[in-house]
Amino acid sequence: MSRTRLAFRQPAGIGFGAWYLLAVAFLFAPIATSVIYSFNVGSLGKQTSLFTGWTLHWYAMAWRDLTLRRAVETSVVASFWSALLATLLGSALGFTMVRHPVRRVRSLLSGLTYLLLIVPETVTGVSLLLFYAVTRVPLSLATLIAGITPLAIAVTALIVRAGVLTLDRRYEEASADLGANRWQTLRFVILPHLAPAVGAGALMAYVFSFDNLVVSTFLTTPRVNTLPVYLFGSLQYGPAPTVYAAAAAIMFFTLALIGLAALLYRLAARRDLQARYQ
């Protein structure tokens, strides 16, 4: 404790502290701006960079905008299914990345997961568009969901993998010694331990899918349009004030979900700590 105090007193510590505060201000300025401007009156029914007064009008307008509402509905449905698939497949992937008995399979699975993270989304998106075009699958909600799952799966897999890495292998061995088969061990020993990581992974998958813009840009149609794609499209014609209202509302919702994910993850971490120091 006293060392930290000392560090703060050093000129270098103050410099770094100032830099940190600047970074935080930089990171939060746009978020604060979008929230504040969602209440901006604007002028002539347009958003302006000048703040002209407070109103709740845009929230009501956004609520009544049917295209916007349909986009939100599509986003909610698509990210729900994507998160569900990512939770099931990503958890399985995250588990087998660490625990599959064959080393080559393990490294293949992690290779695949890291590949998912390093291929730019633009490339993934156009590849999927080409894939659907060549295989003559018409674009629909299902193709959109299938297209945004891989990234969500990778995110969930990495979170669950981190959980598996802290899981003591001896629990599994003990369970096997006591006569449980592999499924029983998975169901009654491993899954309860991983539940918080799986929960956090599911929420992150939902958030990532909901926010997905680049891949979705290529897979949406006028009939199946997600919220980010709709907002992105409408921005090209100058920001409509309703965009900020809708965006701010969604952001509060997302932040609440993130808070929940963080809480779950913390609970998991605490349990690990207890397990380790008992």
């Binding site: 970074a23 000048l50 599959h100 064959v102 699975l109 590849s127 090209q236």
Partner: protein, 296 residues
Amino acid sequence: MRGVTPTARTPARQRIAVPTSDALLAGIPAAWLFVFFVAPLAFTVFFSFGHSTFGGIAPGFTFDNYRAALSGFYAQSFLRTLRFAFAGSALCLLAAFPTAYFIARHAGRWRAAALALVLVPYFTSFLIRVMSWQILLARGSAVETLLNFLHLHSGPLDVLDTQTAVFIGIVYAYLPIAIVPLYVVLARIPATLVEASRDLGASPWQTFLFLTLPLARPGVATAALLTAVPMLGELVVPTLLGGDKGVLIGRAISSQYIESQNYALGSAMAVLVMIAVGVVVALLARLTRGFMEVAP
């Protein structure tokens, strides 16, 4: 690629009994990712050698698409993208390092909270965060007033729709993801090592150059990777903040698919981006002997 689907196939030498459960748990996600991720990428590589037909694409074996993608306008935008990713990633690292350093070394018991605070924005909508810069950087905005007040700038702000705006947006968008790996390596450096270096007479600068920086290398590599790779395919930030000038390759690829419907050329350009990503990964891996593993 071949080994992805047959999950439980072991070489004859090391015959390991794979429980059905593990085979299924590995096989199902692998199969799903194979269909919706690996196969589309393979299609892109395959058709990058094909021809675009009217509203479609036909297989073939020609390098014409690559020739087109590597000449004139597209070559320029490809080079511009490489420079952009390099500069953007460097700027991100420069901004992230002191921030991560502060969290790891000076935040004391507020470490976790300090880290969480810089991470929160990363998880809010990417689009909203970027489009807010349109308001912040516009003429007559709060930023203009503030800069004028601090005498850092005088007169109206003419930043929107320029490269500067794109760099602000890009550093903004990827700063949190650069901070995390740097924080992890810096936090791992034992305080005793730093003290020893000081006791042995090293100046703070010497300690930083010869102790902290070398030990932080894997984190630097990971941060560079996590920022440079998405920048190579960046589509949203330049579109929203950069105006029409200086088209980057992400935008060029996207317009081949959405506007020109020239899938073959778009595929060749996408393959070039993947090659660039591969080179970046290989270079960084070489420079730092390995990456750190960080969850997203």
